[in-house]
Every structure is written in structure tokens, then in C-alpha cells.
């Protein structure tokens, strides 16, 4: 990015001149991203819907991307800008790794993303915000970690679970009741889909599993073996089993009262 800003500054998102606009620019927005840690790694997942105002702009958008071997970004906010930001972020991590011969620390990657979001502040003020969720496996500390951001680039590490995007409130509520320390990888992947289901249940901008079109949430797992995206098959199995239970109990699993 430093190299780019020296040699071709015009292709960096932050350096573009924006025309003055009246009101809010309509562009597709990505919605809910959730993440959960488990002993041995972290799970990052996202629904598949992009909305533009009250219209569903895209049903099968992908909003979770690998940043490098041991980390991933999920994006909520203006889809076009967010995808470009992720592309630039991936490029930067890879470039650093190749030039220096060593990977950035997880903390370093999280900080870098923070700077990039801050660079987008001008756009965010015009309603084109990008708010990612960054999750990765910390090879030094040997555990999964989650970082959440706000539009100004403020970064905070989340413990256990986190969510971002319009359905985040509902997803977080679901995760709060379902999360515990000793989750297995399988339980963690089920938990994130449960949370996305609850978000889709109450937030119109979040898409639930679409059985008819066979569109299922994107679920990724990052552990000491690196980044792995669950296949559509695996993801559909989780979604189906949840749907099966919800046919009897539409609100999902119940937590104990005391």
C-alpha cells in the first residue's frame, strides 16, 4: 500500500475525489457477519444477502474472504467498496509476506485493516460505510481471535463471539445464549448458523438459508491448519438440521431460565 501510494496513488480507494452528492447514494449493502472462537480456532460466517434500500440486490453474495493462510475478513456495509478493500488487504498481506519473508503478526494485520477503514471515512460520512469483522488464528498464542471495527477505524478485540452488520443485534443475542467456553469445531459452526438464522428471522436485510435455491450461509473455520471454507454440502447439512428443529420450535433452542 505504501508502494501503491507512492507510484499509483489514484488506484487507492482513499485517494479518490468524490463528487458532491445530495442525500444518500444507493448501492448494494452487505449485511450480517458473525464470528465465534472455540478452543483450537475461530469460525467466521456470513449470510448471503445484499440489499439496496428495501430491495434485495443479490441473493448469493459472498461476504467472507480469506485474508491469508491464517485469517479471514467478513464484510458488512457497501459491498463494492468492501470487496475492493478486502482485495487490497489480501494483496498487502501477501506482498509483505513475500518481500519480508515473514508473515505479519495477527495484531499487525488487525491494525493494518484499521488504517484502511479509517481511509474510507470520507465515504462513510456519505453513507458508504464499510464495517468488517476480522478473525484469525494467532500462531504465537495458539488460539483464535476476533477483532471488530467501527466506521472510524476504531478496533477492539472481542472475546468469545462477535457480530457486525444490520442483523448483528439479533445474532449477538442468539450467540450470547448459546455460547460457552468449551465448544467443539462442529458446535461452533452450528452456533454461527443458528445466530444467522435468528438474525434473518428478525432483520429484513439478512437472508436465511434458502432451501429452494440451495443458497446457504458461508461458514469458514480457521485453525492451526489454516483457513478452510466449508463446502456447500457441509453448510447445507448444518442449515437443514437447524431448519428441521425449527419446524418444531420456531424460535430455536431455549436457554435455561436460571
Amino acid at each position: 500500500m505504501d508502494f501503491l501510494s507512492e507510484h499509483q496513488p489514484e488506484i487507492l480507494p482513499g485517494n479518490r475525489q468524490l463528487p458532491p452528492t445530495q442525500g444518500v447514494v444507493e448501492a448494494p449493502h452487505g449485511t450480517t457477519i458473525v464470528a465465534v472462537t472455540f478452543p483450537g480456532g475461530v469460525v467466521l460466517a456470513g449470510d448471503r444477502r445484499a440489499t439496496m434500500g428495501n430491495v434485495i440486490a443479490q441473493r448469493d453474495i459472498e461476504k467472507v474472504f480469506p485474508a491469508d493462510e491464517y485469517s479471514a475478513v467478513g464484510i458488512a456495509g457497501t459491498a463494492g467498496l468492501a470487496v475492493e478493500m478486502v482485495k487490497l488487504f489480501q494483496l498487502e498481506l501477501e506482498h509483505f509476506e513475500k518481500v519480508e519473508g515473514a508473515t505479519l503478526s495477527l495484531e499487525g494485520k488487525a491494525n493494518r485493516l484499521s488504517t484502511m477503514i479509517r481511509g474510507n471515512l470520507g465515504m462513510a460520512m456519505q453513507g458508504l460505510a464499510v464495517v468488517p469483522l476480522f478473525a484469525g488464528y494467532d500462531v504465537d498464542r495458539e488460539k483464535g481471535r476476533i477483532f471488530s471495527y467501527d466506521v472510524t477505524g476504531g478496533r477492539s478485540e472481542e472475546h468469545g463471539f462477535a457480530a457486525t452488520g444490520s442483523g448483528a443485534v439479533f445474532a449477538r443475542g442468539a450467540m450470547k445464549k448459546l455460547y460457552h467456553d468449551g465448544l467443539t469445531e462442529e458446535q461452533a459452526t452450528t452456533l454461527v448458523v443458528q445466530a444467522l438464522y435468528d438474525a434473518a428471522d428478525d432483520d429484513s436485510a439478512t437472508g436465511g438459508p434458502d432451501m429452494a435455491r440451495r443458497i446457504f450461509p458461508i461458514v469458514t473455520v480457521i485453525s492451526d491448519e489454516g483457513f478452510r471454507r466449508l463446502t456447500d454440502e457441509e453448510s447445507s447439512v448444518i442449515a437443514r438440521s437447524i431448519l428441521e428443529k425449527r419446524l418444531e420450535q420456531p424460535d430455536g433452542p431455549r436457554a435455561a431460565l436460571l
Binding site: 508502494f3 501503491l4 507510484h7 488506484i11 493462510e69 494483496l91 501477501e94 506482498h95 513475500k98
Partner: protein, 257 residues
Amino acid sequence: MSTPFYVSPQQQMADRAEYARKGIARGRSLVVLQYADGIVFVGENPSRALHKFSEIYDRIGFAAAGKYNEYENLRIGGVRYADLRGYTYDRDDVTARGLANVYAQTLGTIFSSAAEKPYEVELVVAEVGETREGDQIYRLPHDGSIVDEHGSLAVGGNAEQISNYLDQHHNDNMTLAEALKLAVRALSRDTNGTEREIPAERLEVAVLDRTRPQQRKFKRIVGRQLSRLLDEGGATDAASDTEEDAGPTPQSGGDVE
């Protein structure tokens, strides 16, 4: 008052070429071999930190012999070229041929510019394809020419002798372990024909492996994996003698054409 000597352009270029060649030959040799699943780079390198081989892009690797600071400069230039190109267009638009051309331009300009001393480096740019036919290996000598190579090559040190040895023993269907073993045998032959032992910790080995599921095919082979491959190569050499009887016949037919 002294009048400058007249030096003919031919002489000047010959001097520069000799200067560069001597510099390159001072370093240790490295070899690049095609094997069944990709391309392997093998070199003797006592340093763990200063690499002779490195990744440029998804399918492209880089190897260099000669002066470290000079080729490191070119390597970083190459990474920048590749990353910028991949970002502005698409990852598929970064090719070894394009990169080799850029390197040839740079080396050629430096070689013929009177203001600079010629670079004492010899580069190899290799790209692994989907199939063996898609593999590309380019050798870039100090003067900015490009040589399209196939099968095996050696640069730096007593490269000529090593490539002769490789040409005689290399075939495209080798497994990684066999190719590695051959490379080490070739590297351990001294100019006077005696062999010396190169311990595994003094070897630098990297592969461009087309079977790797990740997008980035470059991988360093170090530590336990390296010693396992070296042992395995030795074991199969002895064990598969009988199996290999069937092997060489069609391959030697291929060599002749």
C-alpha cells in the same frame, strides 16, 4: 595531461561481460528441475535468512545466483510488478513471460549503461502450469538476454559441468524425492570430479507444486520434510531398481527426439 585510451565498444562489452560472469561464477551453483508434479529449486545455501529462491506470485518462482544485494533488488521489483499487475487486472494476468521480459529489460539496460557497473547476477524465473507441458522456465543471464529452458538447468558456480550431469540423468517423470536426490548429487560434484557431502541443513529447497490445493503453489521444503524426502529418495533408489527397469525405455525414446 593524459589523453583517455580508446577502447573499442566490442572490447568494452567483452570486459563488462567477463566481469559479470566472474562475479556469478564465484557464488555457489543452484539447480532448477522439472519433476512430475512441478518444478523444484535446489541450492547450497549456508544462510537461513538470505534466500536464493523465493515466491513471486501464485505460480511463479524466482531463483538467483550472484550478488545478494543486486538480485534481492530485482526480486522485490518483481514482486511489486506481479502484485500491482494482479491487483489492477487479474491474478491470471501475471505470467512468467511478462516478468522475464521486465527483468530482461532491466538487466539489459544496466548492462549496457556506461554509468553503472553490470549486475553480477543470473536469474531464473519459473512458472508451473496446470500440466507439465504448461511449465515455463526462463534463464536470464547478466546481459539481459532470455533463454527458454526445459527439463533442468544450473546457474552460478560451475554451472556448465552441473548442467551436463543433469542433462544426462534427468527425466521429466521423476518424483520430487528422485529429483531432489539428483539435484544434490549434481551439486556435490566438485570441479575436479570428487564428490563432497552437502548436509541437509546447508541445502535450500523450494518447490512450485501444481498439486497444492492453495492458489499459491510455492512452498519451501525445510527441516523434517526435507530430510524425509532425502532419505526416501535414497531408499527408493535401492528398492525400486527392478520397477525402474520398465520405466526408462519409453523415456529414453523421448529423450532422443
